[in-house]
């Protein structure tokens, strides 16, 4: 960028781009970024401009501010792919050591929502396991899973198994397809405490229905930390739309279209 080009841009964006480049190329996680004073001198801008740049990088989770100590490079986001693997598998493939703390493990009647997710009647017995998932000992998500009790009667007999998927695979019920629904949300106070979130409150909630062929085997609700987690979604070209052949269609009826919301696919 030439000085003329740079001058045309907002000054705080110049500082921000400089820091982002520095973080991407030279600094490691936990390193301190240059001081506010060094930045004001380097770019000949006000301290307010430097703070604006730093605030933006803190807000997006690239930097983390520690009271009285300074501003540091935040841990990288883990870019988990939305696919039918377990948290543990996804973490290991990224060089992270997965861990789990069991919060709840019970067998009881399915709520209407869980029943719908598992194609069961309301009240049918289901196993429920809630766990805090960690990667390299850092809390990453709270995961609540329900499995129809009749599919895996002894699931919780000897405590909570390390991997629910492993149990399903052993029962020849390995999930083969599913659907995830994602929403952005603010963490509840309990969630923020469990996840060790201090400054940021943004989380991503997901609901997953997992099927083994035609059988709904697991319904999972997860809450992921917004400051540690990125979602990676492979995309492909949409399939062609299916339309009735003209010869067989009735003449179009003039009608006002209602809005068609996007759903999960």
């Amino acid at each position: 960028m030439t000085p003329q080009q740079a001058a045309r841009r907002h000054k705080h964006l110049v500082v921000r781009d400089y820091l982002a480049e520095l973080i991407a190329t030279e600094l490691e996680v936990g390193d301190a970024v240059p001081s506010e004073r060094a930045l004001t001198e380097r770019f000949d801008v006000s301290r307010m401009t430097v703070r604006q740049a730093l605030d933006a990088l803190v807000a997006e989770g690239t930097l983390v501010r520690e009271q009285g100590r300074g501003t540091f490079v935040a841990p990288r986001h883990a870019d988990f792919e939305m696919r039918l693997t377990t948290f543990g598998e996804e973490a290991r493939r990224r060089g992270l050591e997965p861990g789990a703390e069991v919060l709840e493990a019970t067998t009881g009647p399915a709520s209407p929502r869980v029943a719908r997710g598992l194609d069961l009647d309301v009240g049918a017995p289901v196993h429920h396991v809630a766990r805090l998932r960690t990667a390299d000992d850092t809390p990453m998500s709270i995961e609540s899973s329900w499995i129809p009790a009749h599919l895996a009667p002894g699931l919780l007999t000897d405590g909570v198994p390390d991997s629910l998927y492993a149990v399903l695979r052993a029962l020849d019920l390995a999930p083969t397809w599913g659907e995830d629904t994602l929403q952005a949300a603010d963490a509840t106070p309990d969630e923020a405490r469990l996840l060790g979130m201090t400054t940021q409150r943004a989380v991503m909630r997901t609901q997953r229905r997992s099927y083994a062929g035609q059988t709904a085997v697991m319904y999972t609700q997860s809450t992921f930390r917004g400051d540690r987690y990125s979602v990676f979604v492979p995309l492909r070209e949409a399939r062609p739309m299916l339309v009735p052949r003209p010869a067989r269609t009735a003449p179009p009826v003039p009608e006002v279209l209602t809005p068609t919301p996007e759903g999960a696919s």
């Binding site: 599913g178 399939r239 299916l242 919301p261």
Partner: protein, 81 residues
């Protein structure tokens, strides 16, 4: 394509009110999203009976969760339409 795929596609099409009720069907990764002329004639119970894992409607758009067989069902639907 197996007979069951064709039968399933035919049952789904019938439950959506038949070809005359279809404006278009958008095959997604696990769902068929149908824009229909008259949502009142769509039979959600019949869609479930035809093997749908879930049915959601909004206005004239009916989403039918069919799972990964969406490709073969879409091909069969194309033949029937």
């Amino acid at each position: 394509m197996s007979t069951s795929d064709q039968e399933r596609a035919a049952a789904i099409l019938a439950a959506l009110g038949g070809v005359d009720n279809i404006v278009e069907i958008d095959p997604c990764t696990t769902r068929l999203r149908a824009l229909v002329t008259d949502p009142a004639v769509v039979d959600a119970a019949a869609l479930k009976a035809a093997g749908a894992y879930g049915v959601t409607s909004h206005g004239r758009v009916v989403q039918v969760v069919v799972g990964p067989e969406v490709d073969t069902i879409a091909s069969a639907l194309d033949d029937l339409m």
